[in-house]
Symmetry: C2
Subunit: 337 residues, 2 copies
DNA sequence: TTGAAAGCGCTAACAG
DNA sequence: CTGTTAGCGCTTTCAA
């Protein structure tokens, strides 16, 4: 029964009516005979008719598809964002095309290009760590494709954004470590060309200032993945004796450094308190459980999608003013600090 | 500079040639004047011409896109599979549309439908836990859309498959627990209507038999997520005194049960050894690190994509015989058992 | 109430 | 070597 795919044309032929009649009947056009309408709809259902979205997209010049580019879907934060996007978009009749840049600039440019080729109606993007040039996003704007940045935005571009209050989140968790008594807090920092990395570092510095301390340059190390913890382990262990706390730019790094210290005989949080950022599920699986900052990925995705769809339907209040929505961060105190 | 998107038509107009000449020039058709060719290509580059894949798909009746349906991208195993698929597909000029079913049957049916609507050339699928009916996959076959199952296949359907040797993997890791001295091993099992759940349970039973033991019905509990560990915790703790090992159908569940036992004063692996399945990154982050079975997600994804593309190009040896590729499982002995 | 025709962007036989 | 034409599946004027 390898049947030919149903189309308006062959439905029309089978029923001895014209394609336009079928087209109208299928969308309950007002001036169409009730009988014809019913006949067409029944037959369409029988042959499992489904409109060809390629043809529709071509005709309407919009694909009812939104493109998503994130660094890596393996991270819980980004998969949560995606779930949020999907739930909202599906509900509004949109489809979602997901791409991952693997933190690679060239791949990101390719992804954006591929989504453009597919004529997506808009894009939701979280930029990769290695992205320094933003021309591909400028091009998007020039082509009139609406764009909303999520979490990792680029500052030199006016555009809608959905962010976490990284600055206050970082400040909050570092103040927590300080309140606990820590006075020599190491910061494992993310790349400073990304807003999230920069804001978290500045929050860290501000928290120290809040307590009348100044930050030490040598207490900030660029290190934002477990594998970098491994490659910088001598550097980190070299400082271990002089510190009583560590604030990491994310939870994986925190979990990795915690393990490194434990393996070298340090008690956590007894000798060194550790905190992360993001509240990855991992944070409650490691021992001790990880003190961190909650980030609402699902809600951020949903909000970003909402902003994009608003742009698409063009019924936003401020047609041209870019919106920025900042989500609050929540402190999650657990066992590690 | 919100420029109109370049098309063959407006390139043709600008250059005073016909659309077909432009079309030919752009694909270096043999019989086209070198000058014209160069002129067209230069102009096309200048205006950033990109072919409209919707139009191409409509014309060629194939979209150069493959659809992927997995339960949840948040799991490392599935994201690895996706990375494998992407790397292979991109290299062959295909694009990838990713959908997640969220372990929900209806969502899965929707996903398959949406991918059909997009006229994907083929699909790669890992079925959801709640999928009992397989009609939507039968329909696919009837429409001539090639399908390769990955990891979670459905047995009542002849089709290409890429699997892990779950049976041997489970048998191996349980034999390891037995060799270590465990004699009362609990199994936290997955749904038995999924091949992976069943095979892992059967591997567990076989390993016991290998050691001259018979399995006890009350030592098998359906429990395959951390939240089910939570909801069945009394049942599990009730057996804790009588067991010396636990084999879990996946690593998250293993991590959760490990934590449950630790919180209740049990030493791992001293009193109870614990093993998981999958070698999630989590396995090396928890304490004690988790003994488990390695599963090669990336390679499985790559292989599945390869099988699908072979079907699409139609140059496989056995046109109609479905292929099954089984990947070996590897024991990863760590601290927990 | 229905049909014919044009067109979205592209390709490919056919004709010149 | 290049242009004309038809058609992929669909919508939408315009005409009947």
């Amino acid at each position: 029964m390898k049947s030919e795919k149903a189309s308006l044309k062959n439905i029309a032929e089978a029923l001895n009516v014209s394609v336009s009649t079928v087209s109208r009947a299928l969308k309950n056009h007002p001036d169409i005979n009730d009988d014809t309408c019913k006949r067409v709809q029944e037959y369409a259902r029988k042959v499992h008719y489904r409109p060809n979205v390629l043809a529709l997209g071509l005709k309407h010049q919009r694909s009812m598809t939104i493109g998503v580019v994130v660094p890596e879907i393996v991270h819980h934060f980004f998969s949560s964002i995606i779930s949020g996007i999907e739930d909202l978009a599906y509900g509004e009749g949109y489809r979602v095309m997901i791409c991952q840049s693997n933190e690679d600039y060239l791949r990101e440019v390719m992804n954006v290009q591929a989504l453009m080729d597919h004529r997506v109606d808009g894009m939701l993007v979280s930029i990769s760590k290695s992205t320094l040039d933003h021309q591909h996003f400028v091009d998007l704007a020039n082509h009139g494709v609406p764009l909303v940045f999520m979490d990792r935005a680029c500052n030199d571009l006016v555009s809608d954004k959905v962010l976490t209050n990284d600055y206050e989140g970082a400040r909050m968790v570092v103040r927590h470590l300080l309140k606990r008594g820590c006075r020599n807090i190491l910061h494992l920092a993310g790349p400073q060309h990304l807003c999230v990395g920069r804001e978290r570092q500045e929050g860290y510095i501000q928290a120290l200032n809040d307590y009348g301390l100044t930050h030490r340059e040598d207490f900030v190390i660029r290190c934002d993945t477990p594998s970098k913890v491994e490659s910088r382990k001598n550097k980190i262990l070299g400082k271990a004796e002089n510190i009583d706390g560590i604030f990491c730019v994310n939870d994986f790094t925190a979990a990795a450094v915690m393990r490194l210290l434990q393996d070298n005989g340090y008690d956590i949080p007894g000798q060194v308190a550790v905190a992360g950022f993001g509240d990855d599920p991992l944070a409650s699986m490691v021992r001790p459980t990880l003190t961190t900052v909650e980030q609402r990925g699902y809600d951020m995705g949903k909000t970003a999608a909402r902003m994009l769809l608003n742009r698409l339907s063009g019924d936003t209040i401020d047609e041209d003013t870019p919106q920025t929505k900042v989500f609050p961060a929540f402190l999650k105190v657990r066992e590690s600090g």
